[in-house]
Symmetry: C2
Subunit: 542 residues, 2 copies
């Protein structure tokens, strides 16, 4: 084919370079573990990214090599994203919430060359001494005078390594298919699988993810990704925010309601992103203290279904628009979102909450469809459930090292989620196919039951699983944790449920527990819960 | 290289498909030649684009074939953009203002297969009968009952052809390097040269051109591109508006001040795009009638330098933000723009007008640099002039049929423009290298002199060229057209000029003329003016 336009594949480093030129004074603000704040600009960051790249070169890291990070959201992690990927390396973000055995598995699977870690995570890494043979060094992300001790590793200090380096780097122009990031799935449903992001897919994802029809970043935006940089690239916000000139607030490990509130107020955050439980935590804190969050205008909420009750609370109590988002590690992750539209001004509040708590419509570039078990597309009628498939330029075509190849059908990626699509194109993920409860041949959505339970004030969190049942094969049981200071009564809860779901969906047992297990990204670990409670009905009701 | 992400090159048709899904009810409104309005939605348009594609198939148009259009801004032209490029053809937009000989040259050069033309342009095409051998048919863009007669061509009606066709089409997924559009330069400086746009470059240009850091389109936008669809794709707005869900107002051939005013008011246009002279026309109309343009918030102005006096007028009289834009046919065309920034609220009005009348900063993806005659980069100090080069994924790497290959240096495209860049990165195109006046070894910017003259109320338009001079080699002379009802006096004009430019820049002669010649896209045809006035000083002052 004749070549008419320049072969000029955009690379991740172009984003920071452009931000340093277009928005040189715009800040990246980080909450540090000691409670202090670190501030610098995109222009500063671009220089330090060059120092990182020069440092990697001096460590003999080559194009395509994997460099792992184990760190929360802060400026050093941010500049590592750019420095590593900019010189052609692959940023492998290790999920800080994984068990030590999972970390070992993943580091070896990925064959990481260096580990750049927060000092807090040193114990996890020390536990792997002698078990991660590809790792040539461990570099600690902290000030020179704050280095931890280690008896098992010869640690290096990040600042010591980079300060000697030049602030410019001859960035290579990398092919759009060149790998730049590696992230493993959460491991909610089984062993984590690796997803390799590419230069081109990452830049496109940032362009469209941050675009006016999705996260809608601009120079007036103060964005705080609470979603971790150690998992799915904090939804790509470390790339989309500088691309569109947004100020970035990185909350570190300060994820209590109090800290989140403080950061919003002090930095005048107007958009923030997290899984639903984070917003529940913030709400509980604001309720308890009577504090407010005036600057906040929007929360983007994904990783799990949005409880409609919380959508309503955020609208009515805090005047915050709740934007439901669906995505997966496998989709970079942004795929669909319930953005604010002009049409919403003609809808009732309830109708709006319904849309906002859905997963919204696909971002430009992404296509979604639901299919039946035979691979036939299903109607978009808002009730028919089907297996959700997705495709687009930032959707994976194979897992790292070609695992899970049965997920790819006719050019689509089979998500493992069960969903409905309404006539306006809004997606609602009703369950994971592994979590759907099959009761006498009919499907019950665990997610819908859980969200229904949140309408009862005493319920803090609910988890519904299918327990084995002699007659119906599976029946739902519900585990709940309670909110302090509210009265709980099982019959009242059942009455609330009856208002929201069909009678035959009502759980066969409701069990109050102190705590529910979550994955690192704040999701219910239903595998564990199922392991524990699978036989509950057989054991207790027979 | 291992393949991790889907090979899913985005195509132009994905934009309309996505608009039909995401914004099905959003309107495309067209002003028709009879003064009536045509309205339909993106969903309607997507169906008709499929009919166009099916029609082309039935006419044996193949992937890669060139299909020419000669039409103003209206819905049929809009759906042709998508139908032709979607099925793999190339939309060759013929510039309606070219001379018949230029049209002949271009159609033959491009080897066009079919012509889709507005009935108004039939005479131009009839003049080419027998001279355009590759053309297999002429299709008229009008209602079935309004077909013009032709004694030289067997004309076909567009509606007749498409109405029989299916409203769905199996759109192919085309390589990102697949050609999709062909446009020739304006021919301001010489013979028009062909620029071939690609599927990938066009979609990227739409993503970033319409993005929040540039044209800033969203579902609240009502965009009216007055820049013609027959030249540089109306700045890509027919792609970026549907991508971001903006309502599109296509003004047809109704480009008088009165008509533009009417469209803005009736359709509540809030953003509109045109060359500077259009805004001068509108301003003159509003001045004469006392009418207002309440809905309009922003004008994007490019194709020629922005006169600061007009920027000020639009701000102070109409509360409209004037966004200076620089681009070329060769850059798809959007490259740099003076967007509204938060920092502007800290600047004085005059400082803002200065920035707005510049060409702004590069859009994400585009890089610019100025060089001296030896190819060394020059400082960004706001005063040093240099040859402007540009690069990026929507910048051409060669002209169609490889003409003008000396414009490509070290991976850059040499624009032929002379520019300065200020320390904040703002670009100002001070002249074309062919128009710069070289007076005794020093450079005088014709553009700056022209803009200075606009500060004198009686001057409607000014044109400065270098006239041959015995002693200084070249000296500037100025031609002006006058505004009705204002007093003109040459000494007063010179006094105004002295306030803005160095004394030795003052033109050696000022000549009042009735009219100045323009290209089809509204630019001064300095080649013609130079031809006529080149010897003026030698002849009149010797
Ligand atoms: N808006 C949403 N509504 C419902 N579920 C969601 C939503 N957003 C994300 N999810 C769930 O999160 C999943 C993606 O999460 P992630 O990629 O982090 O790993 P995981 O699927 O939890 O782990 P693993 O794939 O290893 O089991 C989706 O497949 C979906 O089940
Ligand atoms: N903001 C601006 N300020 C000054 N000049 C501008 C601006 N925007 C565009 N131009 C001029 O317009 C040119 C691009 O116009 P276009 O591609 O339509 O064809 P042309 O250059 O006029 O014709 P040809 O290349 O055939 O001579 C630029 O190279 C520049 O000279
Ligand atoms: Mg998963
Ligand atoms: Mg040109």
């Amino acid at each position: 084919m004749a070549n008419h336009m320049m072969d000029f594949p955009l690379n991740t480093i172009d984003i920071l370079k452009s931000a340093a030129l277009r928005y040189p004074e715009k800040e990246v603000v980080s909450a540090l573990p000691d409670g202090s704040m670190h501030r610098y600009t995109y222009a500063d960051s671009y220089k330090r990214a060059a120092q990182v790249a020069n440092c990697l070169k001096s460590l003999s890291v080559k194009k395509g090599d994997h460099v792992a990070t184990l760190a929360v959201n802060h400026y050093r992690h941010f500049e590592l994203y750019y420095g590593i990927s900019g010189m052609g390396g692959v940023v492998h973000t290790l999920n800080a919430r994984l068990f030590v055995e999972q970390l070992e598995y993943i580091i070896n699977h990925a064959e990481d060359s260096y580990l750049f870690i927060d000092p807090e995570f040193l114990p996890q890494i020390e536990a792997l001494a002698g078990k991660i043979p590809t790792v040539r060094g461990v570099i600690i992300l902290c000030d020179e005078d704050k280095m931890p001790e280690s008896s098992v590793f010869k640690l290096q200090n990040y600042e010591t390594l980079i300060k000697a380096q030049s602030e410019t780097y001859e960035w290579p122009r990398l092919d759009s298919k060149h790998p730049c990031g590696l992230c493993y799935t959460s491991g909610t449903t089984g062993n984590p699988k690796g997803v390799m992001y590419e230069q081109g897919s990452t830049v496109l994802h940032a362009m469209m993810g941050g675009g006016s029809h999705f996260l809608n970043f601009d120079e007036w935006t103060v964005a705080m990704p609470i979603v971790p940089m150690y998992h799915v690239v904090a939804w790509g916000i470390p790339f989309s925010a500088p691309l569109y000139g947004a100020k970035l607030v990185l909350p570190g490990c300060a994820l209590s309601g109090e800290n989140i509130h403080r950061l919003i107020e002090e930095e005048q955050v107007n958009k923030s992103y997290a899984v639903p439980t984070v917003w529940l935590t913030l709400h509980n804190y604001l309720q308890a203290t009577g504090k407010t969050i005036e600057s906040l205008k929007l929360v983007g909420v994904g990783g799990a279904a949005s409880p409609k009750a919380l959508v309503k609370t955020f609208a009515e109590k805090y005047d915050v628009y709740w934007m439901g988002i669906w995505g997966m590690t496998e989709t970079s992750p942004l795929a669909t979102g319930a953005i604010l539209t002009p049409e919403m001004s003609d809808l009732s509040a309830e109708e709006c909450y319904e849309l906002q708590s859905s997963a919204g419509k696909p971002i430009f570039g992404v296509e979604i469809e639901i299919f039946d078990a035979n691979g036939n597309p299903l109607p978009h009628d808002g009730v028919t459930r089907g297996d959700l498939r997705v495709r687009g330029p930032w959707v994976l075509s194979s897992y790292y090292k070609s695992e899970g190849s049965n997920s790819f059908v006719d050019g689509w990626f089979e998500t493992g989620d069960v969903a409905v699509i309404n006539p306006e194109g809004y997606l609602r993920v009703v369950d994971r196919s592994k979590d759907v409860i099959k009761s006498g041949g009919e499907w019950i959505s665990s997610v819908e039951l859980e969200n229904a339970a949140l309408n009862y004030p005493a319920v803090n969190e609910a988890c519904v699983i299918g327990a084995a049942h002699e007659k119906w094969d599976e029946r739902p049981i519900m585990l709940v944790t309670l909110r302090e200071g509210e009265d709980y009564n099982e019959d009242d809860l059942k009455r609330v449920l009856t208002e929201k779901v069909a009678k035959w969906w009502l759980p066969d047992a409701i069990i109050v527990v102190d705590e529910l297990p979550h994955t690192g990204t704040g999701k219910l670990k239903k595998v564990d819960i199922r392991n524990e409670y699978r036989q509950y009905l057989l054991e207790n009701y027979n």
